[in-house]
Structure formats: C-alpha cells, structure tokens
C-alpha cells in the first residue's frame, strides 16, 4: 500500500516537474507571469510529493514489507530500527530517489527565498531545476525503481550490507548528496544569468550561501567517509585514492576554487567567465561522481550496487547538461568580456588566480588518474590501475603550493602592492616559517623534506593570519577608540566572512598536520599472540588477556580483550571480528584509542593455530587532528554563513 502511494506520488511529481520546466519558458515568452506562478506551485507540490514518496519507502522498510524488492534486498527482520530507516540510501534505487527528493526540497526553498528578490532569474531557475529533477526521476522510475514488488515475497530480507551498518556510513552519503545537490542551485542561477543575458554579479550574490553550504556539506561528507574507512575497514588508513573517493573529491577541489574566485568577482569584477566555468564544472563533476559510483564502470572496493545500463543513462544525462551549459557559455562569450584587468602580480587577485590554478590542476590530476584506467579498459584490452603513489607524488607539492598562497593571502592587498613594501611585510612571517622548519627538524626530529616544509609553512600561514588580525585591531583601536579586546570582537563580528575563512584555514592546517603525521610516521606491527602474551609498540604495552564470543542483533563476533598500558594510563580495548548472520562475510571492528599525539589501533585477525591469533597494531600519529581540523573548518564555514549579503563596492 505505502509503496504504491510512493510510486504514484513520484509519477505525479515527474509530470509536475515537466510543468515546472516548460511553464516558465512559456510565461517569459508570452509575457504572462501567471505561468511562472504555476511553475512555482509545481515546484512546491513536487517537494511535497517526493517527501511522501520517501515516507512511503521508509514506512515499507519499517513494516518489513519484503514484497517490495528494494526492501527485501536491503533489510531484514533483525536489522536494527536505525539502520532500517537509513537503508533508504543503502542501494542505488533509494539513493537516486533520495537525491531527487533533496533536489525538490532545495528547489522549493530556493524558489521561496529568491522569488521576490530575483524576479528576472527565477523563471529560468525554476525551469533548469525542473529539468534536472525530471532527468533524475526518469532514472528513478524507468531504470532503477525502488517501488518494484516481488511476485513471491521472501519471509525475510537479505539484510543491509554489513559494511553499511555503521554510523559513519549512515551519515556519509546524505552529506555528500546534500553537497552535490546543493551546487545545483548556484548552477541554476548561473545558467539563468547566461540565458537572460544579465551576467552581472547577481547570481553570485544570490547563491553565496548556497555555495558555502554545499561546500561545507561536501567537506563533511568526505570526512565522514574517511572516518568510516579508518575505523570500519581495519586497514589503518583513511584515504586510498579509490575511484569512488575521488568521485567526491573532484567537485570539492573545483568548488573550493569557486569559493575563492567568487571573492575576486565581488570585489574587482574580474573572473566572470571563469566563475561561470567553475560552477558548471563543479556541478558536472557532482554528476560525474554519481555516474562513477552508480554505474559500475569503475572497479572499486566500495562501488556498491552497480549497473552499467544505468551508468550509460547518467552519462547521457551528463553529456546533455554539459553541452547545454558550456554551449550557452560560448554563446554568451561576447557579453562576458571583463572591463578590469590584472594590474600587478603582487596582488590579491594574482594570489587567487594561482590558488585557482593549483586547485583546478589538482582536480585535473584526480580526473586523469580516475578516468585513465576506464579509457584504457574501454578502448584497449589492458587493465591498469593508477596507484596511490601517483596521487601522493603530485598532490603533496600542489598542496604545499596552496599553503604558500594561503600565507600570502592576508599579506597581499587588492590591486597590488609595491614590491619593497611587500618584502617588509613578508619578512617576519617568513622568519617564522624558517623557525618552524628548524623546530620541526631539531625538536620533532622530522627528517622528511615534505614534513619539514609543511611545519614551516604552517608557521608562516599562522603568522600571516595573526599579523592581519592584529593590524585590524590596531586600526580599530585608533579609528573607533576601542580597547584591544573590544576591537577584536567587533572585527570578528563584523567581518564574519573573512574570519570564518581564517578559521577554515586553521582547520586545513590542522588536517595537514594530521596527514603529515600519519602519512610519514605510521608504525605497523603484524604479530601472532596467544592468551597472556604481550607486545610493546612505542610507549604502549599491550597484553592479550582473553578472547570472548559476543552477539549482537544480527551478528556474532569474536572479541579480544586487550589490556593496554601507556601514556594514556590503563585502558581496555576490544577489537572484534564480526560475522553478520545473513551475509557470511566477516567484518573487522578495529579497536582504537584516539589521543592528541597518536592513535593506538588494533585489528584482530584470524586464528593462526588453536591457541594463537593474528593481530595488527598501528601507531597512527596525529590522526585525530584530521577529524578535529575538519570540525574547525565546519565552524569557520558556519561563521561565514552568518554574514548576510555584502553590498557591492563600486570603488575601492
């Protein structure tokens, strides 16, 4: 019953999305606003109908309605309630419906918010979002329907993939989708600007918060994914340059470039075409991400539920979006000529230019590594993988380049500075950076050049940001006659975007520290222990006390009790080896003690003899800095989001 309601609601939504796409075009063509209002109502109704569809699928899960194929494939009677709800996006049918729902929700919100403020763009925004939603619903209804019934319903379902029965995996997809779908709104506004020919800053101002929000969601989603990979897959790492990970990383990189270069357009009216290019590319890469993950063309450890046929459809969908948007961009090229030119290589504009260059090349690097094996496999016969060494080799220098620019950013001014004055400003931060390198080398005994460079650059960046803040405070103290603390508070409060950005930068530095620490100094021990044996790794002493059998809702596990003595005092850790009842597939539950200095990470392996078991123990330095750094980034974005629109400055 519920699934039929959901199915029906989705069909009506598909028709309404067609109305939403066509009505505004007619309305603008005939000059009849009533048609545009019809499209608005269609958008609201679609959001409602798809919510109903989502509710229908979730209720089918909660009712254990295994006559629904999708439910039978992704749930079982013993699946805990929480995962019963989130199984909605456990497979691709549900994921696509979820995506379409988010799209409808965001569209409705965007239309409601921007209706009166952007009357010229709104018809086109409605039309574009309608077309995108329509494309996704075609996919849902005709190629991967979650509403299908089984002729002979099984008594029990096949249960959710054990790897997905984990909080990290529950949060990871929705955040990613919110990021992907969120970028559709700025995309629609950009295309609207291209269509109606008023290519001013309007689309950027209208969508600043959408862009920041989507970027923050994407960041959170990626970090959740890394966190999940870290503690659920039991291999001691968090990022493997797997094609599926890359799929979400590419739009992130280009989106990051966009967030930065948008500022140049706001302040200096430059980079207009470039910004349009970036938003189109970001959104296209979001679609590509879906294509890569959902199509099965990529061999990946976690390309869940894949189907080439669907992939081809998404590919066609993507080709249409790309041809349409880039075609439009080319058509409008004559209106995009900038009236302002770069004046000096020692300017903020130039720093942003290089920042964009680095980020986009980083994106291209990932794209090359991800698609090359696909191209070789399709066109030739060889099968090839591009390994982590490639990405590491290319990425670390690029990231170091970005850190240099991050430090230069606050020191540079718009339009340019005299070389001599810049040198004077640069002097102290550079000295700080060199001191940092010395500290890294002498005190922390980091002997890898990349490690030393990262620490040095971190000092440089922090000093530069601090200097900027202190200068701001001084200015306020003189101009507004405030005390230093008062001045600092006002500054942070009035300039939420700038200082939010600073906070994000500190978050990036923390993450960089985590990458360097865990990347260069991970220590691994493979060993075999019997009960009562102990092992010493670094400052830790681990004693294997005993092995116990425990049981959960739908799984059984062997659990080792490990007594740990170390810098954190006495601890007991419980690494497990789980077998889920419906999937004869063991999964590893690593036991992790997470500290500020390092994580102690224990994985239980198979029995080696009757009385001994294999273990793998890692010391992972600074891994917690990655998670904390991403938290700092989220805070920074939140702060920046709180700032309303900044009036466009016509003159400096």
């Amino acid at each position: 019953m519920w699934i039929e309601i959901a199915h029906f609601a989705t069909i009506i939504a598909l028709l309404l999305l067609l109305v939403q796409t066509i009505a505004p075009i007619v309305g603008v063509g005939l000059g009849r606003p009533v048609w545009i209002r019809v499209a608005r109502q269609a958008s609201f109704t679609t959001a409602f109908l798809l919510t109903l569809a989502i509710v229908g699928v979730v209720v089918s899960f909660l009712n254990h309605d295994f006559s629904v194929k999708y439910v039978a494939e992704h749930a079982s009677r013993s699946l805990p309630l929480f995962y019963l709800t989130t199984a909605l996006w456990g497979g691709h049918e549900g994921s696509l419906l979820f995506w379409a729902w988010l799209m409808a929700l965001f569209s409705a919100l965007a239309v409601a918010w921007h209706w009166s403020t952007h009357p010229r763009s709104i018809p086109w925004v409605l039309s574009i979002l309608g077309a995108l939603g329509f494309g996704f619903l075609v996919l849902v209804l005709f190629l991967s329907s979650p509403f299908e019934r089984l002729a002979e319903p099984p008594f029990d379902g096949r249960d959710l993939n054990p790897l997905l029965q984990d909080p990290g995996m529950v949060f990871h997809p929705p955040f990613l989708y919110m990021g992907y779908v969120g970028f559709a709104i700025p995309f629609a506004f950009a295309i609207a600007a291209l269509i109606n020919g008023r290519i001013t800053d309007e689309w950027i101002l209208a969508t600043r918060r959408w862009t920041l929000f989507s970027w923050a969601m994407l960041t959170t989603g990626i970090v959740f994914g890394a966190y999940w990979a870290y503690y659920e897959l039991g291999w001691g790492g968090y990022w493997a340059w797997d094609p599926v990970e890359n799929a979400s990383f590419m739009p992130w990189l280009v989106g990051t470039a966009l967030i930065h270069s948008v500022m140049v357009q706001e302040r200096r009216r430059m980079f207009k075409t470039w910004n349009l290019f970036l938003i189109i590319t970001t959104f296209a890469l979001s679609l590509l991400g879906t294509f890569l993950v959902r199509s099965g063309v990529l061999s990946s450890v976690h390309a869940f539920a894949s189907d080439p046929g669907r992939g081809v459809t998404i590919l066609i969908f993507m080709a249409v979006v790309l041809l349409f948007s880039f075609g439009l961009l080319v058509l409008r090229a004559d209106r995009l000529r900038g009236e302002v030119h770069l004046e000096s290589p020692f300017s903020m504009e130039a720093a942003f230019l290089f920042n964009n260059l680095f980020l986009v090349i980083a994106g291209l690097t990932v794209l090359l590594g991800t698609l090359y094996p696909l191209a070789v496999e399709t066109l030739g016969n060889a099968k090839v993988t591009v390994g982590a060494p490639y990405y590491n080799k290319v990425f670390i220098p690029i990231m170091l380049g970005i850190l240099i620019l991050m430090g230069l950013g606050p020191l540079l001014v718009w339009r340019g500075d005299k070389g001599s004055r810049l040198l004077r400003t640069l002097m102290l931060p550079v000295v700080s950076g060199i001191a940092g390198m010395g500290l890294a080398f002498l005190v922390f005994a980091i002997d890898h050049p990349y490690g030393v460079a990262t620490v040095g650059l971190a000092f440089f960046v922090i000093h530069a940001h601090g200097l900027d803040f202190i200068q701001g405070i001084r200015k306020r103290m003189v101009n507004a006659k405030e005390g230093p603390i008062q001045a600092g508070m006002t500054l942070i409060g009035r300039n939420k975007r700038r200082y939010g950005g600073f906070l994000v930068h500190f978050g990036v530095l923390m993450m960089a520290a985590g990458f360097v620490g865990s990347g260069l100094f991970q220590e691994e021990k493979n060993l075999v222990m019997a009960q009562g044996d102990f092992v010493v790794i670094g400052p830790w002493r681990l004693e294997f006390e005993k092995l116990v059998e425990i049981e959960g809702n739908n799984w059984k596990a062997q659990e080792a009790i490990i007594q740990v003595n170390g810098p954190a005092g006495k601890l007991t850790l419980h690494p497990q080896k789980r077998v889920y009842r419906d999937h004869q597939m063991p999964t590893t539950e690593a036991a992790i003690f997470s500290g500020l200095r390092e994580d102690l990470y224990i994985v239980l392996g198979d029995p080696v003899t009757d009385t001994t078991w294999a273990f793998r123990v890692y010391r992972n330095p600074l891994v917690s800095w990655i998670w904390n750094g991403s938290g700092l980034m989220a805070l920074g974005i939140l702060w920046a989001l709180m700032q309303g629109r900044r009036p466009v400055k016509t003159r400096e």
Binding site: V301, A303, L315, F354, L357, I361, Y390
Partner: protein, 158 residues
C-alpha cells in the same frame, strides 16, 4: 602622452611577467603530473596473460586477479606466512605472502594480488585485496562482468 605611454609599457611588462609565471607554474605542474603518472601505472592481469606475456613485465609491479585455488592454500605454522595459487581456470600463478590477510580471503574466493613479477618464481605479494561476496560484487570481480560493462559502454558510444 608620454606618461600614459610609460604606463602602458609598464602594464605590458607586468602582463608579460605574469604570463611567464603562469606558464612556468603550469609547465612545472604538468611535468610533475606526467612523470608521476607514467611511473605509477600498475597493470592488471589474469594468470593466463601473465604466463603468456609475462617475460616482458619482468621486474615490474603487477596486479594479478583470479580465484584462490581450492586446496592450494598452505600456511607456515606459527607465522603469518602463506602460499597459494591464483587461478583463472586455465593457468595458475603461485603467490607468497607474509602478513594478515583481508577479511574475505579464503580458498575459492576472488582475489587481487599485487607485487613485483619475477618470471619463473612465485609472485611475492606486497598486498592482497579480497573481493567482496557476490551481493556487492563490483563488475571488476568477474571477467564476464567486465566484458558486459565494456560492451554496454561501447554500444552506447557507437
């Protein structure tokens, strides 16, 4: 007149400087990508392929995919050292590995081993990837799957 001419010249000089910097940075990054890329490709073979063309790959890091042959897995008692055969139904390649095996590794399961290839000897695997059970099977995991996905992709491109 003279002054603005001067300014124009300055501007042109700056633009030249900027273009040159951009060119150099792009060139350096391009070179970086190119050199890293060609050195990091790992080829993926079936045991038959490696038997037939393997000599050419001597000393290179290769990936071999297939099944762990039933009855071929030997463990050295008390250690984590194992030895097994990877098969594609026609040929086999012996593999040595020292370390903890992944969750899904067992006889009869699909597996991908990676390591330097020395013809005539066993492959000393530096890593083992076990393939997921068939419910979650990515296409890579079966030869038919690869063929099917390639076919459908090619069909769609025609």
């Amino acid at each position: 007149m003279n002054r603005s001419g001067n300014q124009d010249a300055m501007r042109a000089k700056r633009r030249l400087f900027l273009s040159l910097t951009l060119l150099v940075v792009c060139g350096a990054l391009g070179a970086l990508i190119w050199t890293s890329f060609s050195g990091s490709l790992v080829y993926f073979h079936t045991p038959t392929e490696i038997r037939e063309t393997g000599a050419a790959k001597a000393g290179q890091k290769v990936r071999i995919g297939g099944m762990v042959q039933e009855g071929s897995l030997v463990k050295e008692p008390g250690t984590l050292k194992i030895r097994f055969l990877v098969t594609d139904g026609q040929n086999t390649v012996p593999v040595l590995y020292d370390g903890m095996t992944p969750d899904l590794f067992r006889e009869g399961q699909g597996v991908v081993v990676e390591g330097p290839w020395r013809p005539g000897e066993a492959l000393i695997a530096s890593s083992i990837l076990a393939k997921h059970s068939e419910d979650y099977i990515p296409v890579e995991m079966t030869p038919e799957g690869i063929a099917k996905s390639k076919e459908s992709l090619l069909r769609s491109l025609q």
